[in-house]
């Protein structure tokens, strides 16, 4: 049987323990959002909305709580970011990289400059541990829209075959075709525009 004294000690110890833990728990248990500048320095915006209202974060390292009072914005220290998000940040995959390859008019023949870029893309695919790519074909507005849809698919397929040796798993290559619907340079119909005759290859 426990003596009165021991029981009192235990209760007091518990109270002390709880009191000392409380501030730590409060500091760690927060649900919050932090806006970060991109690696290239560019900065976006995020909005944070809960049942109390809405806030927009616009500055680098600016944070807001998800629970409790929305609208209050505060600076978040690098030390806190490292403590809370170090592991998530360390597991961030390499950012996807996109390349444009350009074609001779009305054909699936790459321009000499673009043909010379193909080895760079292959090197980037090989540099990544588990790569996947997308290949998206486009045309300019010369000629019939339907024929251009077919041509842009042929371009994408022709380019995709350049990477099948490096990336044999067909699941890892996705092929799309936008025809003349998604111009890089806006032009009227029936306009010869070399910049629009392209395939966009994205390496992830």
């Amino acid at each position: 049987m426990m003596s009165k004294n021991a029981s009192f000690k235990q209760t007091r110890w518990r109270a002390l323990f709880a009191a000392s833990l409380l501030p730590i728990l409060n500091a760690c248990s927060q649900s919050y959002v932090v806006l970060l500048a991109d690696e290239d320095g560019s900065l976006g915006k995020v909005s944070v909305t809960n049942n109390q209202g809405s806030t927009v974060l616009e500055k680098n390292l600016e944070g807001a709580d998800l629970s409790g009072s929305a609208g209050q914005v505060y600076a978040v220290s690098q030390a806190r970011i490292q403590q809370d998000f170090g592991s998530a940040l360390a597991s961030s995959p390499q950012k996807p990289l996109s390349y444009y390859l350009y074609f001779e008019g009305g054909s699936t023949q790459l321009t000499p400059e673009s043909a010379a870029d193909v080895p760079k893309i292959i090197a980037e695919i090989k540099r990544r541990p588990v790569p996947d790519i997308s290949v998206v074909g486009h045309t300019d507005t010369v000629g019939d829209e339907k024929l251009n849809a077919a041509l842009s698919l042929q371009r994408a397929e022709a380019i995709a075959t350049l990477f099948t040796e490096t990336l044999p798993d067909t699941d890892k290559i996705s092929i799309e075709s936008h025809g003349e619907k998604n111009l890089l340079i806006a032009t009227p119909d029936n306009t010869d525009e070399p910049k629009n005759r392209r395939v966009e290859v994205t390496v992830r």
Binding site: V46, L66, S92, P129
Partner: protein
């Protein structure tokens, strides 16, 4: 009697087929795995491995020492720290048809997010839900920590 049953059964089979078809579209890939991490779809749960495909509705979980990095078809990049649970509720990426949507749910844990083409073309179509609030994404990069319920 048999005839009466046949029609609803056929309809059910169609519905099942449609669902299975819709789930077959790959929406992204696992790129980095540290420690314990799993991908759950419907009733099955498998260990997450680098290179694994991701599908709509997948639940991604990390253990106590786990972390996970993924990329989506639209170049959205997400990575998660330990003790995290994320579900991809909605994902539509057909820019040629203007079909764009990304809704992820962070039940608990930590998330590092870098936006891709969907947020660039249609910012209002992207959101990250947490148990206590919703994050609207108008560009690039942020961190979220949530305690869950």
């Amino acid at each position: 009697m048999i005839r009466k049953l046949a029609i609803p059964l056929a309809l059910c089979a169609n519905a099942l087929f449609a669902t299975a078809q819709a789930d077959q579209t790959i929406i992204g890939f696992v790129k980095i795995v540290e420690g314990e991490a799993t991908i759950t779809s419907a009733a099955t749960s498998v260990a997450a491995k680098p290179g694994a495909s991701l599908y709509l509705g997948n639940v991604l979980k990390t253990g106590k020492d786990g972390s996970l990095g993924i990329t989506f078809k639209d170049n959205t990049v997400m990575s998660f720290g330990p003790d995290t649970e994320v579900t991809v509720d909605e994902y539509l990426y057909a820019p040629a048809n203007g079909e764009l949507k990304l809704v992820a749910r962070l039940a608990k844990g930590t998330l590092h997010y870098i936006s891709g083409v969907i947020a660039k073309l249609k910012p209002e179509a992207v959101s990250v839900k947490t148990p206590t609030g919703v994050i609207g994404v108008r560009g690039t990069r942020f961190l979220v920590k949530t305690e869950g319920e």
